[in-house]
């Protein structure tokens, strides 16, 4: 990333020229917004994530996973042996089982960090390459800020003289541009904006890709997937927020859930020895113990009243 600071200095230096022609009514063609403080902040954030540190962390997490595996085995051996009593032995065995998912989690996190570090490394290299291109293209071939501003001043004066004078100028090379707009001509300014904009687009695209790889560890190699704020990476839609039972909620529930129509009353259960009910013979799976499941009488359907408004 050593190439980036001088290239950024060039970008900042030529930003005023770019902004003037970018917003100028005489400009032809499209362009992208100028380099901004937000772009600077994004770049600083990316440059602050060191792929080497992520790789080192991955190695440490691998070591932690190996240690955890040993610890789990040792605790399990204590639990399986004698000398600690049944209660402590049970707790040791439970703990040995509980440690296993943490081993897998540490290993998985290490793998994702390694993947993220590799993606970030290549993207930062690409960013540095774009920075060199930025240093070459940011001036659009003018090489001199003074000359560029002088041509811009001429363009401003042309606009002040009236739209006919300003926009009847053929703004293309070979159609008299040099005759009215000086040696550089306005096509030069258009070219400056185009080349500068191309660099900005390339930089922002590289930053987008780098941010995706950092924000979605382990998913940087899935170009077909797109992630949006609020989306759960593993499950898609975010689960519903906590339900608050208020009047609106009650109203919505009553639109979906209606009381069943009153049907014929079931057999009444009266106090005493109870009715003789038919049953279902069966057996419990995995045992030879038979069970008898009684058919219980359905209780009378209660009358449900809609809450008062």
């Amino acid at each position: 990333m050593d190439a980036l600071p001088p290239a950024l200095a060039e970008l900042r230096a030529w930003r005023a020229v770019y902004e003037r022609w970018w917003a100028h009514p005489g400009r032809r063609g499209g362009a992208v917004p100028p380099w901004s403080a937000a772009d600077e902040a994004r770049l600083a954030g990316l440059a602050g994530t060191d792929p080497d540190e992520l790789t080192a962390s991955a190695a440490r997490l691998d070591a932690v996973a190996a240690d955890l595996g040993e610890i789990g085995r040792a605790v399990g051996l204590v639990g399986a042996g004698s000398g600690v009593g049944s209660a402590a032995a049970g707790r040791c065995l439970e703990l040995a089982t509980a440690v296993r998912p943490s081993v897998a989690e540490a290993t998985g996190l290490a793998g994702e960090l390694r993947s993220t570090a590799a993606a970030l490394e290549s993207l930062l290299t690409e960013l540095a390459a774009q920075a060199r291109r930025l240093a070459e293209d940011v001036d659009g071939g003018y090489r001199s800020l003074l000359l560029a501003h002088r041509v811009l001043d001429e363009a401003d004066r042309a606009v002040e003289q009236g739209p006919d004078r300003a926009f009847d100028w053929p703004n293309r090379a070979g159609e008299g541009a040099g005759e009215l707009a000086g040696s550089a001509g306005w096509p030069g300014l258009d070219e400056l904006v185009d080349r500068h904009a191309g660099v900005l687009t390339a930089l922002r695209t590289a930053m987008d890709a780098a941010e995706r790889s950092v924000d979605s560890p382990g998913c940087a190699d899935l170009p077909g997937r797109s992630y949006q704020p609020g989306m759960w990476l593993s499950e898609g839609a975010q689960p519903a927020a906590e339900i608050v039972v208020n009047r609106d909620y009650t109203e919505r529930v009553w639109q979906v859930w209606q009381p069943l129509p009153a049907g014929p009353a079931g057999p009444e259960v009266s106090p005493g020895d109870g009715p003789m009910l038919p049953g279902t013979e069966g057996s419990r799976t995995g045992t030879d113990t038979g069970v008898r499941i009684a058919h219980l009488a359905e209780p009378p359907i209660p009358t449900v009243k809609r809450p008062s408004q």
């Binding site: 962390s57 209660a87 703990l95 994702e112």
Partner: protein
């Protein structure tokens, strides 16, 4: 009275598990200090927290074992002292006809 566990063995096991508590705590700290990038921070913290809880659970087992061993030892001594006292009193007790 015969005790279920040997206090000396329980203490030895407690020492062994105590060392594992230290290793679990060290693993939790190692995870907590790992640089993982902004997106994986929560996952890292949850893992460190889980390891810390494992360490606490194991420390409680160690504490129970040590307490048991201490109580068991005191109980054994009381039983031995009681037996000796009983023998002494029987010695001085006049024989029944």
């Amino acid at each position: 009275m015969r005790m279920e566990l040997d206090p000396a063995v329980a203490l030895a096991k407690a020492a062994q598990l105590g060392a594992l508590v230290g290793e679990l705590s060290a693993a939790a700290a190692e995870v907590q200090h790992a640089t993982v990038g902004s997106a994986a921070t929560q996952r890292r913290d949850q893992l460190a927290l889980r390891l810390g809880r494992h360490a606490v659970e194991l420390a409680m087992v160690v504490s129970d074992l040590r307490r048991y061993a201490s109580a068991s030892d005191a109980h054994e001594r009381a039983v031995v002292a009681g037996a000796r006292e009983l023998e002494r009193r029987l010695d001085v007790c006049p024989r029944l006809p």
